[in-house]
């Protein structure tokens, strides 16, 4: 795309001042960078063509509201604290006194700039630089929504923090930027739930950075259930300190187009991450997942397992990278992408990449793309399960393999419940 790209109406409208001066400067610089940067080249690979969104027609989202549908969705989760945003604006906040008393901060990022500007400034952009890519720069320049979560040293929250984002104006653009800071020895899980109703086109850009201090334990569960015509770009980047532990599950079920980047920087000895992905594609969904397991120190570990189940004409492109720096000796890294194609028109591509510069490491990777195993189906049918049930069981098992690696009973049950609800909604779509 040309550098002199037309400045769309909505982009100008969103590029409005925020309270903190430092952020205002940052936004202006990001805006400049966005305009100066060229779009990244597409991978040298014969991928299925991605659907194009006509950005000209998009509007700035209107005022947000806490609709019954959002209330219902929030109620299906158990949480220690919750924030709900619609159209990028905060519409509900639940922060019990006992959680607040521990020093936990949960607010919209905008509010955080007013109340905790210095704290935000000291961390903002340290995991994900505001001009890292063109899409990230646009996000930094124009973000409206997003949260700030701060968990002080040695504080442990047993139940998850729940963040629900929604978009209720049709044909609109939502950009949100979130910052999660988990201090040394603290422990938290965060559910990032994204949902919108109907089948209106929309552009969603969601960037979240996580800074995990030494020995911190973080679990992220991101549920992407945007409306079926949405175009979504997400970037999640985590920076892990010494012996910090981060598990990240990305569940992708919605949108017409979703380009997700899930990146983890293992910055200190002993940092450990588990990246899990579960993609359920149907209709003409086009998904791309870029992952980075970035080993920058010795004795770091990463394990990635991404499964996708594709029906109808759905498409998935997995593009993974394990990078092991030359100082990162005695690291363990693993990467697996498995793709189950349930229809003739569905398709998947997977490229696992390794760049390993240390010589004393363990690393493994693999990818598979294929249909249902006929022998598994036959085994189940020979036990009296009809064809449809047998296939559902195999698919559920395939998904379960990923979910169970969460190591958190409450989250496992809730993610399973969420998926069951999703699959129930899918029922009328019959296989060809």
């Amino acid at each position: 795309m040309a550098k002199t790209e037309t400045l769309y109406r909505w982009q100008e409208a969103l590029h409005t001042p925020v309270s903190a001066a430092w952020m205002q400067t940052l936004r202006q610089n990001a805006w400049q960078a966005y305009q100066d940067m060229a779009d990244p080249l597409p991978p040298q690979r014969n991928l299925r063509k991605a659907p194009i969104l006509d950005r000209e027609g998009l509007q700035v989202p209107g005022a947000g509201s806490f609709s019954d549908a959002l209330k219902e969705r929030q109620q299906s989760w158990q949480f220690a604290a919750a924030l709900v945003q619609d159209n990028g604006a905060e519409v509900a906040l639940t922060l019990p006194q006992e959680v607040q008393a521990q020093g936990v901060i949960l607010t919209s990022l905008k509010t955080a700039l007013e109340q905790h500007s210095d704290l935000v400034q000291s961390h903002f952009g340290t995991a994900c630089a505001p001009t890292a890519t063109r899409a990230v720069a646009l996000n930094a320049a124009c973000w409206q929504g997003g949260l700030f979560l701060y968990v002080p040293k040695n504080i442990e929250l047993q139940l998850p923090v729940y963040f629900l984002q929604s978009l209720s104006t049709a044909q609109s653009a939502l950009l949100s930027r979130s910052l999660v800071v988990v201090e040394r020895g603290a422990k938290v899980s965060l559910v990032l739930d994204s949902w919108s109703d109907g089948d209106n086109g929309a552009y969603v850009s969601d960037v979240l950075e996580v800074i995990a201090g030494d020995g911190a334990q973080v679990q992220l569960v991101a549920l992407q259930a945007w409306s079926t015509q949405a175009h979504v770009e997400t970037v999640r980047q985590s920076k892990l300190g010494r012996d910090a532990h981060c598990t990240d599950l990305q569940v992708t079920t919605g949108a017409a187009y979703h380009h997700a980047s899930n990146l983890v920087d293992l910055m200190q000895n002993g940092a450990n991450t588990r990246l899990l992905g579960l993609t359920l594609g149907s209709r003409q969904a086009w998904y791309r997942q870029d992952t980075l397991q970035n080993h920058l120190c010795p004795h770091t570990q990463s394990k990635l397992v991404y499964h996708s189940v594709l029906r109808d004409q759905a498409y998935s492109f997995y593009n993974g990278m394990i990078y092991v720096d030359k100082v990162a000796q005695q690291t363990e890294s693993y990467q697996l992408s498995r793709n189950l194609l349930l229809s003739d028109a569905s398709r998947a591509d997977a490229i696992p990449n390794l760049e390993i510069f240390a010589d004393d490491v363990q690393s493994g990777h693999g990818a598979s793309i294929g249909g249902l195993d006929p022998d598994q189906r036959f085994y189940l049918m020979s036990r009296g399960f009809d064809r449809r049930t047998a296939e559902d069981l195999i698919v559920e098992g395939f998904m379960e393999e990923v979910i169970l690696q969460l190591d958190n009973e409450v989250l496992i049950e809730q993610v399973k419940h969420h998926l069951a609800m999703y699959l129930l909604g899918q029922e009328p779509e019959e296989e060809a």
Binding site: D373, P374, D375, Q376, F378, Y379, L380, M381, S382, R383, G384, F385, D386, R387, T389, A390, L393, I394, E396, G397, F398, M399, E400, E401, L404
Partner: protein, 258 residues
């Protein structure tokens, strides 16, 4: 023998994998309550026969007929065959990751019975059957055949048989992968199922006499190059054990056309 109603009648059954004929005219009748042993060298078509009877999609029936309890078996989908009382204990059971044994077994029983089985009733039944097979309760928390040892897979197959109480059970080399003690336990369970279901027919596929020491067959058949070439009583199995298949091969080897 309990009664003489035929449980299974196979008439001149021919089946191919692709263009390659594997079964070349199998004839076999199993009466209700009868125990049959099927023996034969590697590659003679024993597993093919059991898979064809269960309805595996890899095989094409080119001619012949199979009547199961008065019905044309070949018209039915594998799951319908199962619900009508046919059971196959696989030689090599596949693993299905992420599917929990407990849920699998309970759903399986419900589909066979066509009614709900409460968790409480099911637990009770499961406990009893697992006790017979000397299986530990933790077993049902695992995933279907995932990481099971050879012996565990075979016990699990027989556990399913014990729960389903089929009208006809085909046991494809259930003895392989079992040590002596396990073989005894498993055979005793099979006998226990047979004792409580006196009309159940059994087709025991094996290479060895040792399983037949525990489960006395009424008939022994030898499958060779896709046909049953010899049938007899249990003495035939002893004879084979003593002499191997050499005599059979000499007598029945078809000239190979090149």
């Amino acid at each position: 023998m309990q009664n003489n109603d035929a449980c299974l009648i196979i008439k001149d059954l021919h089946a191919n994998v692709g263009d390659k004929p594997i079964l070349k005219g199998v004839n076999l009748t199993i009466g209700a309550g009868e125990k049959h042993a099927l023996m034969g060298p590697n590659g003679s078509g024993k597993s093919t026969l059991s898979n064809v009877l269960m309805g595996h999609p890899n095989y094409t029936i080119t001619s012949g007929e199979v009547i199961f309890r008065g019905e044309n078996l070949l018209e039915l989908a594998p799951d319908e065959r199962a619900r009508k009382g046919l059971f196959l204990a696989f030689q090599y059971p596949v693993s299905i990751p992420g599917v929990k044994v407990f849920q699998f077994l309970r759903n399986m029983l419900q589909s066979r019975r066509g009614t709900d089985v409460s968790v409480r009733d099911f637990r009770k039944l499961l406990k009893e059957k697992m006790g017979l097979l000397n299986m530990r309760e933790e077993f049902v928390k695992r995933y279907l055949n995932e990481g099971f040892s050879g012996g565990e897979k075979k016990r699990h197959e027989i556990l399913q048989m014990a729960l389903l109480e089929p009208a006809l059970a085909l046991l494809d080399e259930t003895d392989s992968g079992l040590d002596i003690d396990a073989l005894k336990t498993v055979c005793e369970s099979i006998n226990a199922v047979a004792a409580t279901n006196p009309d159940m027919g059994l087709l025991i596929i094996t290479h060895y006499q040792r399983m037949l020491n525990y489960i006395q067959p009424d008939f022994v058949h030898i499958l060779f190059e896709g046909r049953i070439v010899k049938s007899g009583g249990k003495e035939l199995a002893l004879e084979l054990e003593a002499n191997g298949y050499e005599l059979i091969e000499k007598q029945f080897r078809q000239p190979v056309s090149v």
